[in-house]
C-alpha cells in the first residue's frame, strides 16, 4: 500500500513536471519572470542613491561667505547647483521648467549677521515630487552650514584655547551610523523584499494557471484528471508540491543568491541558515498557491491576483513600518507567506540575524505550511470525490443508453 502510494507520488510528480514545461503560460511565470524580473528591478534601483540633484541658488548677499556656501553645496556629491539667480521669481521659473528641483535662498543680510555674531538663516524650498531630493538637499545644506559654522568659529571665537572653543561650541558631539545598509541605498532596502515577493507571486500565478489548464483539459472540468494514480488525496498533493518545490529551489538560487551578488546587494546571512528559513517559506507559498488554485475557476481570472503584490509589499513592513500598519491589515498579513517571509529574509540576509532572532517568523511560516496543507488536501479531496461522482454518473448514463439501444 505504501509502495503503491510512493509509486503514485512519483508518477504524479513526473506528470506534473511534463505539464509544467508544456504550458507556455506556466513557463512564463515559473521561469521567465523569476529570471528576468529580479534583474529588471535591481537594475531600476541599482544606482541606490541619487547624486547631483539639481538645485538653483538665489544669492542676495553676494559676499565671500555666501559664495563659499554655494561652492561647498555644489561640491557635495548629492547636489549640483545648476545656476545662481538674482531673484526668487527667476528661480521659481526654473523649478517650473524642471531645470532644478530645489531653491537655496541666501538673504541679503547673511554676511552681516555672520560677522555680527547673530544667527544667520538660509532657506531651502524643495519640490516635493520625490522625498529623495528633499533629503539630498537638506543633508547637503545642513552639512555645509555646520562646516562653515565651524570654520567661522575658528576665526571669531575668543574662549582662550582651541579645546575650550570646541567645548563651548559643541558641548555634546554626536555620531550617527546607518547599520546594515550603510549608504542608505534604495535597492539594498527594497529589493530583498521584492525578490521574496516575486517568488511567492510567480508560484501563485503559475500554480493558478496550472489549475485553470487542468480544469479546461480534464473531461469533467475538475482539478484532478481521471486516472488510477490520482486516487489518493495525499499522493496528489505531495506529488504536485514536490514538483514545484524542486523547480523553485533552482529559482531561489538564482533570485536570492546570484542576482543580489551580481548587483552587490547586502548579503551577510549565513547561507545554511537562509536555506533552513526558505524551506518553510517555499512550502507555505506552494500550499497557499494550491489552495487558491482550488478556489479560482479559470486560468485567466488567476492573473487578476497580481494587483495584490503592491498591497503585500506594504503589509510586510518593509516599505511602511510594521508598527504603523493598522491591526486589521496586520492580521490579514499573518495569512500571507510573504509577510513573515520578507521580514525573516531581510533579518537574515541584510541584518545578519541568526535563526533564533527570526524565530517568530520561522514558526509562523511552519504554521502556515500546516494550515494550507490541510486546506489543500481538503480541496483536492473534494475535487477527487466530485470527479468520481462524475465518472459514476457518466458510466450509469452510458449503461442506460446501451440498454435502451439493445432494446
Amino acid at each position: 500500500m505504501i509502495k503503491n502510494g510512493l509509486l503514485d507520488i512519483f508518477t504524479i510528480w513526473l506528470d506534473e513536471m511534463k505539464k509544467v514545461f508544456r504550458d507556455d503560460g506556466v513557463r512564463i511565470f515559473f521561469f521567465l519572470v523569476p529570471f528576468g524580473y529580479p534583474l529588471l528591478y535591481t537594475f531600476i534601483y541599482n544606482n541606490e542613491v541619487i547624486h547631483e540633484a539639481k538645485m538653483v541658488v538665489v544669492d542676495q548677499s553676494d559676499s565671500y561667505w555666501s559664495r563659499e556656501f554655494t561652492r561647498r553645496v555644489n561640491g557635495t556629491a548629492d547636489v549640483q547647483v545648476v545656476s545662481t539667480c538674482t531673484n526668487m521669481n527667476e528661480a521659481k521659473t526654473m523649478l517650473d521648467k524642471k531645470k532644478a528641483y530645489g531653491i537655496l535662498y541666501i538673504p541679503s543680510d547673511f554676511d552681516k549677521d555672520l560677522h555680527r555674531g547673530k544667527q544667520a538663516t538660509v532657506s531651502l524650498y524643495v519640490d516635493m515630487s520625490s522625498l529623495l531630493y528633499y533629503r539630498a538637499f537638506l543633508m547637503s545644506a545642513t552639512e555645509v552650514s555646520l562646516d562653515i559654522g565651524n570654520d567661522l568659529r575658528m576665526h571669531t571665537s575668543s574662549a582662550g584655547s582651541a579645546q575650550l572653543d570646541k567645548i563651548m561650541v559643541e558641548p555634546i558631539p554626536y555620531d550617527s551610523v546607518a547599520l546594515f545598509n550603510s549608504q542608505n541605498g534604495f535597492a539594498s532596502f527594497l529589493v530583498p523584499g521584492i525578490l521574496i515577493l516575486i517568488l511567492q507571486q510567480t508560484l501563485v500565478l503559475g500554480i493558478g494557471l496550472r489549475g485553470g489548464t487542468e480544469r479546461e483539459k480534464n473531461r469533467f472540468h475538475t482539478l484532478v484528471p481521471i486516472s488510477k494514480h490520482f486516487n489518493g488525496t495525499f499522493r496528489v498533493v505531495m506529488g504536485k508540491a514536490l514538483t514545484y518545490l524542486l523547480l523553485y529551489v533552482i529559482n531561489c538560487i538564482w533570485v536570492l543568491w546570484i542576482v543580489p551578488r551580481m548587483f552587490s546587494l547586502p548579503q551577510v546571512g549565513d547561507p545554511m541558515t537562509v536555506v533552513i528559513f526558505l524551506l518553510p517559506f517555499l512550502c507555505a507559498c506552494i500550499f497557499f498557491a494550491m489552495t487558491l488554485s482550488g478556489i479560482i475557476a479559470t486560468r485567466e481570472a488567476a492573473m487578476i491576483y497580481v494587483f495584490s503584490s503592491v498591497i503585500m509589499i506594504f503589509i510586510s513592513g518593509i516599505s511602511w513600518p510594521e508598527s504603523a500598519v493598522p491591526p486589521f491589515w496586520k492580521f490579514v498579513g499573518l495569512f500571507i507567506p510573504s509577510t513573515p517571509g520578507i521580514q525573516g529574509f531581510v533579518g537574515l540576509n541584510t541584518c545578519g540575524a541568526s535563526l533564533s532572532d527570526v524565530a517568530k517568523q520561522y514558526h509562523l511560516l511552519w504554521l502556515q505550511t500546516g494550515i494550507y496543507f490541510i486546506t489543500t488536501c481538503l480541496i483536492y479531496r473534494y475535487q477527487i470525490i466530485k470527479c468520481h461522482k462524475q465518472v459514476v454518473r457518466q458510466y450509469r448514463y452510458m449503461k442506460m443508453r446501451k440498454m435502451l439501444e439493445v432494446k
Partner: protein, 392 residues
C-alpha cells in the same frame, strides 16, 4: 457606411458588451473589486500621514538625571517610542536584528558628569537602514534630540558666563537651514505615495480588462460575430466594445479623485479640471496600450501575462519613489512607454505644485499619443479576430 449606421452599430455592440460585463465576475472584480480594495487599503494604511511611535531601543549606561531626561524627551517625539531599555549594546543590537526596534540610541557611561564638566561626552545613534523609511524618520528625531542636548548644555554654560541667548545660539549654530517643502509641507507619505499608486492600480486593471475583453472574444470564438456587428470596421467594433469600460473606469477614477482630493483634501493646487482631465486621458491611454498588447499577442493567456508584467513594472519605473533622473539612461527612456509616467508628471506639476498647464503640455500630448498605438496594429488584430482558433 453612413454615420447613422455607424452609431447604430456602436450602440448594438455597447449593449452586447454591457450584458457580457455584468455576466462575467472577472470584469466586476477587475473594474470595481480590485480598485476599491486598494483604495480602502492604501488610504487606511497611511491614514496618519506619517508613521507614529516607531520603536527604538535606548542603551543608557549612565542612568543620571540628564540621561533619563533625554530618554523621556526622545519618547515624547511623535514618531519615536522608546520600546526597549537595553543594558548593553549587544542586547539592543539583537532587538534590532529581530526587527523589534528600528534604531538604537546610545548614551555612554558618566554622560551627565562629563557633560557638566565640559568633557564632551559622545552621543551616538544607529539606524537600521534596511527599513529606509523608518530609519530616515528616526534619524531626524534622534539627531534633533542630540542637537538639543548639546544646545541645552551650551545654553546653561553660556548663560553662566554672561552671554545673551542670541549670542549663544549664534555660537552653537551660526547658520540655520530653514526648510520649506512646497506642496507637501507635512511630509505626508500618503500624499507622496497614494497619488500615484492608486492610478497605477487602475492602469494595471485597465490593461487587464481590455486584454481580457478582446482576448475572450478570440478564445470563445465569438470574435467574428462581434466584427460582423461592427460592420467589419475595427474602429466601430472597438469603440462599441470598449466604451462601457471607458465609462466605468472613468467613474472609478473620478471616485479615486473624490477620495484623494475631496475626502482627504490632498494638495490640489491646480483645481479639479486638469486632474480629472489627466485621469480620463490615463484611462483611454491605458485602454489603447491594452489593445496594442492583445494585438501583438493574440492569445488570451499571453496577452494577459504581458498586461500583468508590464503593469507591475510601472510602479517602480515611473519614478514617484526613486526618481527617474537617478536611474540608468536606458531606463529613463523606457519609463516614457508607460502612461502612468506622464500622468505622474502632470500630477506633480498641476496638483502638487500648482503650475500652469503649459509647463506639462508634452505629457498631455504623450497621453494622447498612446491612442495611435492601436492604429499601428489594427491589421494584426483584425486577422486575429477572423482567423485564430483557440488551442488550450
Amino acid at each position: 457606411m453612413t454615420l447613422k449606421e455607424g452609431l447604430h452599430a456602436i450602440e448594438a455592440i455597447f449593449k452586447r458588451e454591457l450584458h457580457l460585463l455584468t455576466k462575467t465576475p472577472t470584469f466586476m472584480i477587475c473594474i470595481f473589486g480590485a480598485p476599491l480594495i486598494c483604495l480602502i487599503f492604501f488610504l487606511s494604511l497611511m491614514k496618519g500621514g506619517l508613521p507614529k511611535d516607531m520603536p527604538i531601543a535606548v542603551v543608557d549606561l549612565d542612568k543620571s538625571a540628564l540621561s533619563r531626561n533625554l530618554t523621556r524627551q526622545l519618547d515624547a517625539f511623535e514618531q519615536t517610542r522608546v520600546a526597549f531599555n537595553a543594558n548593553s549594546f549587544y542586547e539592543a543590537r539583537k532587538e534590532l536584528q529581530k526587527g523589534n526596534v528600528y534604531a538604537i540610541f546610545f548614551i555612554p557611561q558618566d554622560f551627565g558628569k562629563d557633560a557638566s564638566l565640559g568633557k564632551q561626552p559622545h552621543l551616538s545613534f544607529y539606524t537600521n537602514a534596511s527599513y529606509l523609511v523608518a530609519a530616515s524618520l528616526l534619524f531626524r528625531d534622534m539627531k534633533t534630540i542630540s542637537v538639543l542636548a548639546g544646545a541645552s548644555v551650551g545654553l546653561q554654560t553660556g548663560r553662566a558666563k554672561g552671554y545673551t541667548d542670541d549670542q549663544i545660539t549664534a555660537a552653537l549654530q551660526p547658520i540655520k537651514v530653514d526648510t520649506h517643502a512646497i506642496g507637501n509641507p507635512w511630509m505626508n507619505y500618503s500624499v507622496y505615495l497614494n497619488n500615484t499608486i492608486l492610478p497605477g492600480i487602475l492602469q494595471v486593471m485597465i490593461f487587464f480588462s481590455t486584454v481580457f475583453a478582446i482576448g475572450s472574444e478570440i478564445k470563445y470564438g465569438s470574435s467574428r460575430e462581434w466584427l460582423k456587428m461592427g460592420k467589419g470596421s475595427m474602429l466601430i467594433s472597438l469603440l462599441g466594445k470598449l466604451l462601457p469600460q471607458t465609462i466605468a473606469f472613468t467613474a472609478v477614477a473620478f471616485l479615486f479623485a473624490a477620495f484623494l482630493y475631496g475626502y482627504n483634501s490632498f494638495p490640489l493646487n491646480s483645481g479639479w479640471g486638469p486632474m480629472l482631465l489627466a485621469l480620463f486621458l490615463l484611462v483611454i491611454a491605458a485602454q489603447a496600450v491594452g489593445i496594442f498588447m492583445i494585438s501583438v499577442l493574440p492569445t488570451l493567456r499571453l496577452g494577459l501575462s504581458f498586461a500583468c508584467l508590464f503593469g507591475m513594472v510601472s510602479f517602480s519605473i515611473v519614478g514617484f519613489s526613486f526618481p527617474v533622473a537617478g536611474m540608468n539612461p536606458v531606463l529613463q527612456s523606457l519609463a516614457d512607454l508607460f502612461p502612468l509616467r506622464h500622468y505622474f508628471l502632470i500630477y506633480v506639476d498641476q496638483a502638487l505644485n500648482g503650475r500652469a498647464m503649459i509647463y506639462t503640455w508634452s505629457e498631455y500630448i504623450w497621453l494622447l499619443g498612446f491612442l495611435i498605438l492601436p492604429l499601428l496594429v489594427r491589421k494584426n488584430l483584425k486577422n486575429a479576430l477572423l482567423y485564430i482558433k483557440y488551442i488550450p
